[in-house]
């Protein structure tokens, strides 16, 4: 076996493990970001393909660094989809609210999920990365190519929107 073959084999093992460990999370992250199950599946798969290709140049550090690295790839993939032709492709889409398992929630999870997914994109993405993927403001700033200052203020604004929307939602109940 050549050195190149070993490297390819290692990459395969790494990607297989990443899909096993983070596949669900990456798919759900894409799902909330794109608000569409079918697009999210494409984006999640695309993310792992890109991750495989990126292993040559920028292998992640294990643990949290690995998760942040993968999240960054996934978010950038979603951004591409969001901006490009794919996002306009609605004929075969499966909207998020059709895949949410209402029976599994205990009465408030679903509204919270709905509110998170209804945030404007730039706020939704920082909430997902910070609260769902556990990324630091520094990591989010790097992933989104914005300043840390913007990350903070977007988190703050997202909090305010969630708070206002959830309060209104429960008041209406």
């Amino acid at each position: 076996m050549t050195a190149a073959n070993v490297a390819v084999g290692d990459k395969a093992l790494i990607i297989e493990r990443l899909m096993e460990d983070y596949g669900d999370q990456v798919l759900r992250l894409c799902c909330v970001y794109l608000k569409d199950r079918a697009l999210a599946e494409d984006a999640a798969q695309d993310s792992f393909v890109k991750a495989y290709k990126a292993l040559d140049r920028a292998p992640p550090t294990a643990g949290q660094g690995e998760k942040a690295w993968l999240s960054r790839i996934a978010i950038n993939t979603c951004k591409d989809y969001r901006r490009g032709a794919w996002f306009r492709r609605r004929a075969k889409s499966v909207p998020l609210d059709q895949v949410v398992d209402m029976t599994a929630s205990d009465g408030y999870d679903a509204p919270l999920l709905a509110e998170v997914s209804s945030l404007p994109e730039k706020y939704r993405v920082v909430v997902l990365l910070h609260y769902y993927q556990g990324m630091s403001a520094e990591e989010i700033a790097a992933a989104l190519s914005v300043s840390r200052s913007s990350v903070y203020s977007r988190l703050k604004a997202a909090h305010s929107m969630l708070r206002a929307n959830l309060d209104r939602r429960y008041s209406d109940d």
Binding site: I15, M19, G23, D24, L27, R28, C31, V32, R37, A40, E41, Q45, F48, V49, Y52, G63, Q64, R83, G84, A85, W86, R88, R89, A91, K92, V99, V100, D101, M102, A104, S105, D106, Y108, D109, A110, L112, L113, V116, E121, K122, V127, H130, Y131, Y132, G134, S136, S145, S147, S149, S150, Y152, S153, L155, A157, H159, L162, R163, L166, D167, S171
Partner: protein, 486 residues
């Protein structure tokens, strides 16, 4: 009762629970492997010589609609499809590409070119030299690996986004001629034809949408750098093509490795506005530089508070980074916060936490000791919990502070929360939701006499707002213990 849980655990739980049926299945994994291992049809490596022969045939039948077009673009596009980006080509093909560039008029360092054809130079070295020459000609790649877009951008001095529609369409046509999935994955760029809106008419509609949505003036819009795309796409070969416009009005144009900031407007082919969005950082979003440190520390502090220190430490949000000079979870830390941080945060309009309103202070000499206050509070809290020290342990180390709401009656306040590692918190949250244990609680003690002023169990709302993230006064009707200080 209003429930406003949105810390990380609740959001994670909401997403994981709500989307529990959304799983990355074996089918998804298989599709990933199919694409990695050659899911694209005809992904067969071709030598540059063969590619050149095909490219020449293509050139012969393709009218050069764009004057900047170089013959070698065809070669690169095909090789990108069959072999990947330039960096991944064999040394032999890299050298052949340098020769092709020379044939097309590029002048390289003669010494380096000679080495490329020197039998005594290793393949690895030839590969390195070829990469060096290509980088000299085309500059650093936009996204990690040099690709045909970088080459064309370098030739015409403009990023892909801002190319004229004709050039986008020509490259798109070329790439889709080699890649049958191109249209499906990326959409195929077009030039408006008969029956389509003209670019200027579509642009006028997009500008109108920008004015309506964002309130921008003509002058504002004129100052933005515009990217226009017109394309069609289809999910499969059997589906009808869908045609659309995308306008990106950049406030900050993209740079290598940076996406840029823009307002986006999508139009259908007949000019209907189908969507608007932006990733623009507003002025109002920018935290004043002098406040960044405070905001960062607060968020990290809040984070540690909510997820538990163990996890925060694992996530490299170390307490000594969060609060380099003090431990905020001590009486002294709270007092220092009230003295030095609270007012600047409020003055800068960052009063996003009720904690800035809390009159933390250092204890008077004639107050009971902190240890005494803690012992009193623990006993009181255990009374609330049926005398169970075991349950009390669920709440970890209580948060203790000294507060002066009334100078005549300063108080010790001891707060109990699920201040333990996050995994355990999820289980305790379940117990609390069932009503088996309280969400937490607090004990206020007269600092002079040691008399208990109030003992309170928290509800879910307050348990998720224990550092008062809500605006001061916003939820006064829900705040605990107002009667204690009346």
């Amino acid at each position: 009762m209003t429930k406003l849980p949105y810390d990380d655990l609740f959001i994670r739980e909401a997403i994981d629970t709500g989307l529990s049926r959304v799983r990355f299945t074996q089918r998804n994994k298989n599709e990933v492997w199919m694409r990695i291992e050659g899911g694209k049809p005809v992904k067969k490596k071709l030598s540059l010589a063969l590619v050149l022969a095909i490219a020449l045939a293509l050139v012969a039948v393709t009218a050069l609609a764009v004057t900047v077009w170089k013959n070698y673009y065809d070669t690169v596009a095909q090789k990108e499809y069959t072999d990947g980006y330039f960096i991944d080509w064999s040394a032999e093909d890299k050298v052949a590409f340098i020769d092709l560039l020379i044939e097309n008029g590029t002048v390289f360092d003669a010494g380096k070119v000679t080495k490329l054809h020197d039998a005594g130079v290793s393949e690895v070295e030839k590969s390195r030299i070829a990469e060096e020459l290509v980088t000299e000609k085309f500059g650093e790649p936009r996204q990690g690996k040099l690709e045909i877009r970088d080459m064309i951008s370098a030739e015409i001095g403009e990023l892909f986004e801002f190319w004229p529609l004709e050039l986008k369409a020509k490259l798109s046509e070329l790439q889709s001629s080699y890649d049958p999935y191109y249209q499906r994955w990326y959409g195929k760029s077009l030039v408006p034809g008969e029956g389509d809106l003209s670019e200027s008419d579509a642009t006028a509609i997009a500008r109108g949408a920008l004015k309506d949505t964002y309130g921008l003036s003509d002058a504002d819009i004129d100052a933005l750098k515009l990217s226009v795309a017109f394309y069609d796409y289809a999910d499969t070969e059997d589906d009808p093509l869908i045609r659309a416009w995308l306008f990106e009005f950049y406030t900050k144009p993209p740079e290598p490795g940076v996406a840029g900031e823009a307002y986006f407007v999508w139009l259908s082919a007949d000019g209907e506005v189908t969507g608007t969005d932006d990733n623009v950082t507003d002025e109002a979003e920018i935290v004043p530089e002098e406040m960044v440190g405070i905001a960062e520390r607060f968020l990290a502090w809040q984070y540690i508070s909510q997820v538990g220190r163990e996890k925060a430490i694992k996530m490299d949000v170390r307490p000594d980074i969060v609060v380099p000079d003090i431990n905020l979870f001590t009486v002294e830390g709270f007092a220092l916060f009230a003295r030095e941080w609270a007012q600047p945060m409020k003055a800068a309009g960052r009063g996003f936490l009720g904690i800035t309103e809390i009159p933390y202070a250092l204890p008077d000499a004639d107050s009971i000791l902190q240890e005494e206050a803690l012992a009193i509070a623990n006993a009181a809290m255990m009374g609330q919990l049926g005398g169970s020290g075991e349950i009390l342990a669920y709440y970890g180390n209580p948060s203790i502070s000294y507060r002066v709401y009334d100078v005549e009656h300063p108080v010790w306040r001891v707060g109990y929360f699920f201040n333990i590692k996050s995994e355990e918190r999820l289980r305790l949250h379940d117990l609390a939701r069932k009503g088996d244990i309280p969400w937490g609680g607090s004990v206020y003690i007269d600092a002079k006499t040691g008399e208990i002023q109030s003992v309170r169990q928290y509800d879910e709302f307050f348990a998720n707002n224990w550092f008062g993230e809500y605006e001061p006064g916003e939820f006064d009707h829900l705040l605990p213990e107002p009667e204690a200080f009346g």
